[in-house]
């Protein structure tokens, strides 16, 4: 299927963060949930959802956009924005070096792709976060790209979809990252006043400052089945309460039960769900 063909080098080949990603080599893929081997082509045709148990594999931002836009075609925006390492941050390595290696590993300038294209014939703006780029974390570049996307949606009056996959704000940009939560949320206030639809899609995982800003501010908030969605990470909560969390805690279905999602939408239904929702809101 066209949505999953890669023109860029596969990021799966990089050792970092690869353990949970889908391996593209080989004809068979073992489901990470039910262990059933599935023919690779069947899995891809099913948008990387296990045909046996329905488990949703994580997919990258490029695949996500190809899946949602008609014929997998889209125009990318603000791809030239790159961080200038404002704090000169050094962790286990220098942040600017980490950025460089992330860029070459993922072939992306930062952790979000901002794109416009057609969804069932209607022009929409979709921002997809890339978990493989420093955990999909949000610093100044992600904040600016999403804010510009919102502004473009207001000017052109086109619906916005943000597909989140992120551990939250980016530590290496300190309080600058934190301020992106406010910057984007304020822009969403303007989008709200302009009555332009915004649908937030939360995928596995969506936590921290991303959940605590734009991901929870959709006109509709939906989650993929089984996605981890929360403010604090589960490990942190376990440390705080000193006990194990119950099965299913902070998963999409849990949030639905507690009233924080409009729907849990299977990946194979997502495009049509977005189409129906946008049609209801915008036509």
């Amino acid at each position: 299927m066209a949505w999953f063909t890669r023109q860029k080098p596969s990021v799966e080949d990089t050792p970092a963060d690869a353990e949970k990603s889908v391996r593209t080599e080989g004809l068979w893929q073992k489901c990470e949930k039910c262990s059933q081997p599935i023919w690779r082509k069947t899995l891809e045709e099913n948008l990387l959802v296990c045909t046996n148990c329905g488990h949703h594999f994580r997919i990258d931002a490029t695949a996500r956009l190809r899946m949602l836009f008609d014929e997998g075609k889209y125009e990318e925006h603000d791809a030239g924005l790159v961080s200038n390492d404002p704090l000169g941050f050094v962790d286990s390595r220098r942040y600017h070096e980490r950025l460089d290696s992330m860029r070459s590993a993922t072939n992306l300038p930062d952790a979000v792709i901002s794109a416009t294209g057609l969804l069932n014939g209607r022009r929409v703006h979709i921002c997809a976060l890339e978990l493989k780029f420093i955990g999909g974390s949000m610093g100044a570049v992600v904040g600016e790209k999403i804010t510009r996307a919102i502004e473009r949606c207001i000017t052109e009056r086109i619906p916005l979809v943000i597909v989140s996959a992120s551990g939250g704000a980016r530590m290496q940009e300190g309080a600058i990252s934190l301020m992106q939560l406010a910057k984007i949320s304020a822009a969403l206030m303007k989008l709200d006043e302009a009555r332009v639809p915004y649908i937030s899609v939360m995928t596995d995982p969506t936590t921290g400052g991303v959940t605590a800003s734009f991901a929870m501010l959709g006109d509709m908030n939906v989650g993929e089945p089984g996605a981890l969605i929360g403010f604090a990470g589960p490990r942190v909560i376990e440390q705080t309460i000193r006990q194990k969390l119950p099965e299913g805690f902070q998963r999409s279905e849990f949030l639905l039960d507690h009233g924080f999602l409009d729907a849990v939408v299977k990946r194979t239904e997502l495009k049509n769900f977005l189409d129906r929702s946008i049609r209801f809101l915008a036509d």
Binding site: K20, N84, D91, G139, M171, A182, G209, A232, P234
Partner: protein
């Protein structure tokens, strides 16, 4: 990956009086950023209620979020500042053990953020300025907080504060712990006390992520650029409220009178702006924030 070591700012706030790091070399323990973090968490440091009783008159506390309950880490109510009616929202940590437990160590649950925005909207409706005093290690990371939508509560405040048509002034008086602090911080003017900190992650959690050793928190405090001086330089705050020598804990009255001066000037600056002007002023301020990138032509 949610616990990815290089990302996870979805971390636990560290309650105050975390044990001092041991084993770190002395030059690390005395770095100025870390010293300020220690002062921001000082057990004798004035808390929100200390400032409220000194800076305002006729404070009348108002309770509840109208959905679930009344968060004790978040306080709010109306008061008079130099004779002028204002709405105060604040975070209170508590001082002795009993009060700390009562206040959940100043770590709000969703109902705290919902109470705060309810009161801020009330202020907006009647044209009263909002004064927000921030002092939290972070929003509470617990099962009940997650069940009641901690992330949604914070997100909602960020958006709705940006819509308020009244003057909003925020001051970080002690700890400005990540989203849980920012959720009271989308203001026209944002100040920090001289020894307050404001950060995306606690220095302990940051150190645990980088060096697998929370004892290296002093190094993280420096790297994160979390002091008032740092953030003024990054244009994230508008000014610094000077503290008495060696810190606000030494003279609560002096700290309060410095805060009063700052609030007076900020209110005067905002006085000429009408509703739309106040919304635009706040929007533009945050829109410009963190322009730390370059634009490459592809």
């Amino acid at each position: 990956m949610p616990d990815d070591p290089i990302v996870a700012t979805n971390d636990a706030p560290v309650p105050d009086e975390a044990p001092a790091p041991t084993g770190a070399p002395p030059e690390v323990l005395t770095n100025p950023s870390w010293q300020r973090v220690q002062l921001a968490r000082h057990p004798k440091r004035p808390q929100a209620l200390d400032y409220i009783e000194r800076v305002f008159t006729g404070f009348e506390e108002l309770h509840g979020d109208r959905f679930y309950g009344d968060d004790k880490a978040t306080i709010g109510g109306f008061a008079y500042f130099e004779g002028r009616p204002v709405m105060v929202v604040a975070q209170q940590k508590g001082k002795d053990t009993k009060a700390k437990l009562f206040r959940n160590f100043g770590m709000p649950k969703p109902e705290g953020y919902r109470k705060a925005i309810r009161l801020m909207r009330l202020a907006d409706k009647f044209g009263r300025p909002v004064i927000s005093l921030i002092d939290t290690a972070g929003a509470f990371p617990g099962v009940d907080a997650e069940e009641r939508g901690q992330a949604e509560a914070v997100a909602y405040n960020l958006r709705e504060m940006s819509r308020l048509g009244c003057p909003v002034i925020a001051v970080v008086i002690g700890e400005g712990g990540s989203g849980g602090a920012l959720a009271l911080g989308v203001a026209n003017r944002v100040y920090m006390l001289e020894n307050a900190y404001y950060s995306v992650i606690s220095p302990e959690s940051c150190a645990a992520i980088i060096w697998r050793d929370s004892g290296k928190a002093p190094l993280a405090a420096e790297a994160l650029k979390m002091t008032a001086q740092d953030l003024l330089g990054l244009k994230i705050i508008d000014g610094i409220v000077k503290e008495p020598a060696e810190g606000a804990q030494n003279d609560h009255d002096a700290a309060a009178s410095a805060l009063r001066e700052t609030l007076k000037n900020a209110l005067a600056e905002l006085a000429p702006l009408d509703r739309q002007g106040l919304i635009s002023d706040r929007y533009e301020k945050f829109r410009r924030m963190g322009n730390f990138f370059r634009e490459e032509t592809l």
